[in-house]
């Protein structure tokens, strides 16, 4: 067994495998399949201060090697999360993080303040990259001043680790990464979904109720890898790699590109055991190549 321990700011991870927000529910949906505590941590569904019904059906379109979604941050709101969902998460011994979103800076702050009171939550992932909401979301993540402003404001009220989830729908992701690092982000995670679209040629209508949606799955992996590689050279804070990771080889590629940890997303829809299989596969890779520690491959791309 190789040593898989790693760290994201103050969060100690027993291994670098996390689950991406919006693809793992609140963790409890996976209890039938495996012991979620085996993972380094879970990042639960995007949470906003007010309850959100999300977008109208249809919200999903299957695409070549991937899918589009337009869920639109459906959730019961932060007070409901604190009162009704949080108690169910106390049983987990691994790290539980909450993905925090909002339409205005004030909403992000109010949501983070509520999560800040929850002792068992190790940190937040600030979502400035959701492409499926009319206001806020990605709008904050595509300009440096607005990204810095929301990170700055949340930093003042949130005391534990703050990861900032970045959008790939930008001209230069390294500029945004540097802006949020400067504003106090403890880590960046990337990438969120790529803005895309699907059309039904037979009906001559868009497939999604929102016309556009967020593309995920193996089709986005090359874009995600490139961005993780660029950002890991642009910032000093740890980078968490996300984007089309379906197996351990994919995960290893992200470590080589510079990621300190990874998140498994869409793969969990197809195989609820994907994150566990990826964790085991990472250990197998390290053993096969005689590496003792996950750090031995992080950022070790040979040029």
């Amino acid at each position: 067994m190789a040593d898989l321990k790693t760290k994201i700011h103050n969060i100690k991870l027993k291994n670098p495998v996390l689950t991406a927000s919006g693809t793992f529910g609140y963790g409890v949906e996976f209890d039938d399949f495996f012991d979620v505590d085996l993972l380094g941590g879970i990042i639960v569904k995007g949470t906003t201060i007010f309850p959100r019904q999300g977008n109208a059906y249809p919200r999903m379109a299957e695409t070549a090697s991937g899918m589009l979604n337009a869920v639109g941050l459906q959730n019961g709101g932060a007070p409901y999360f604190a009162s009704d969902i949080y108690p169910k998460l106390l049983k987990y011994k691994t790290n539980v993080l909450v993905n925090v979103s909002g339409s205005t800076i004030e909403e992000y702050v109010a949501c983070a303040e509520i999560i800040n009171e929850l002792d068992h939550i190790s940190g937040i992932e600030l979502n400035i990259s959701c492409p499926n909401v009319k206001e806020g979301g990605m709008a904050f993540g595509i300009s440096c001043p607005s990204a810095a402003a929301v990170v700055n404001a949340v930093k003042k009220v949130y005391q534990k680790t703050m990861i900032v989830k970045l959008s790939p729908n930008v001209t230069d992701i390294t500029e945004i990464a540097r802006a949020v690092e400067g504003a106090g982000a403890d880590s960046v995670s990337l990438i969120n979904t790529l803005l895309g679209m699907a059309i039904n040629a037979e009906t001559r209508k868009p497939v999604l109720s929102t016309v556009t949606g967020g593309l995920s799955g193996p089709s986005i992996k090359p874009v995600a890898l490139r961005m993780v590689w660029q950002v890991s050279q642009a910032v000093k804070i740890p980078v968490i790699g996300i984007g089309g990771i379906m197996n351990a080889t994919d995960a290893v590629e992200f470590f080589l590109a510079g990621a300190t940890a990874i998140q498994v997303g869409t793969a969990s829809f197809i195989d609820p055991l994907a994150s566990l299989k990826i964790l085991k596969g990472i250990d197998d890779y390290l053993n096969r190549h005689h590496f003792n520690h996950i750090n031995d491959i992080i950022g070790c791309l040979q040029m």
Binding site: G22, F30, Y57, P58, R59, G217
Partner: protein, 259 residues
């Protein structure tokens, strides 16, 4: 039963017509109880353009031989790939998913209304109800007699009625044109329906007028099948609910259908 991912062996692939087959799949372990109306999500890994699993209601369950059956209609690349599943090949199946139909009290007289491949969960339901000594009437609608397949299967458990749009079998017209709705509909204490949305809405409208209990089985597109992608939602009186976990079976009074 706990949800799990299992390798099931194809023990037979029965061709009904050009685009409909029944797959019989065998589990290596004892099957636990599967409720009528629950479904499975099957991986289609031999098809390069198919990324997600494909959901199918259980068509029948044989606990003695640990065999589950699915009625597969070839609609797209994923379902057509499954039509070609070879005997002895293995399919990766996630099941059982969702909640099923609410079972009636023994002796109640019930009506099952199916259209197209929507008849699949109704056979499983009829199997269970026949053991519950219910009086079962089943109404199946199709375009033409050639689309009415495996009718003997239904006759084993139910009094069978049919409609065809071209009049080639049973009464002519849509299922809701059938005389059972004008004659003795209030004799039924419950109606269960599965099929195309317009058909289910028409059946639901008939049930609502006569205040008969009615459950429908929905088939929204989904990515996961166990309540984490939140893609398959339907508008209910309590807001958006996932068809995969809160359904696929809903009482019509829960849905915000314009009927």
């Amino acid at each position: 039963m706990r949800k799990s991912v299992q390798d099931l062996k194809v023990v037979s692939n029965l061709r009904l017509n050009d685009d409909q087959h029944i797959l019989h799949l065998q589990a290596s372990n004892q099957l636990e109880y599967i409720h009528p109306g629950q479904f499975a999500n099957i991986l289609v890994d031999q098809s390069k353009n198919v990324f997600l699993r494909r959901p199918f209601s259980f068509y029948s369950v044989d606990y003695q031989n640990n065999i589950v059956s699915f009625l597969i209609k070839g609609i797209g690349e994923g379902t057509r790939t499954l039509l070609n599943a070879g005997v002895d090949s293995v399919l990766d199946v996630l099941f059982p998913l969702g909640n099923g139909f609410t079972l009636p009290e023994p002796e109640e007289k019930v009506l099952l209304v199916g259209g197209g491949s929507g008849v699949a969960p109704l056979l499983h339901l009829a199997q269970v109800l026949s053991k519950n000594s219910n009086k079962i009437h089943m109404l199946v609608g199709a375009r033409s007699v050639s689309d009415l397949v495996e009718m003997d299967n239904y006759k084993r458990y139910a009094n069978l009625h049919t409609t065809t749009e071209d009049g080639s079998h049973g009464e002519k017209g849509f299922v809701t044109d059938h005389s059972i709705f004008s004659e003795g509909m209030t004799e039924f204490s419950r109606i269960y329906t599965c099929g195309p949305d317009p058909m289910m809405k028409a059946v639901a409208a008939k049930a609502r007028v006569k205040s008969v209990f009615c459950e429908v089985s929905l088939e929204n597109s989904m990515a996961c099948g166990f309540g984490v992608c939140l893609c398959c939602v339907v508008q209910t009186i309590h807001g958006h609910k996932c068809v995969c976990t809160e359904g696929p079976v809903f009482n019509i009074n829960q849905l915000k259908w314009q009927i």
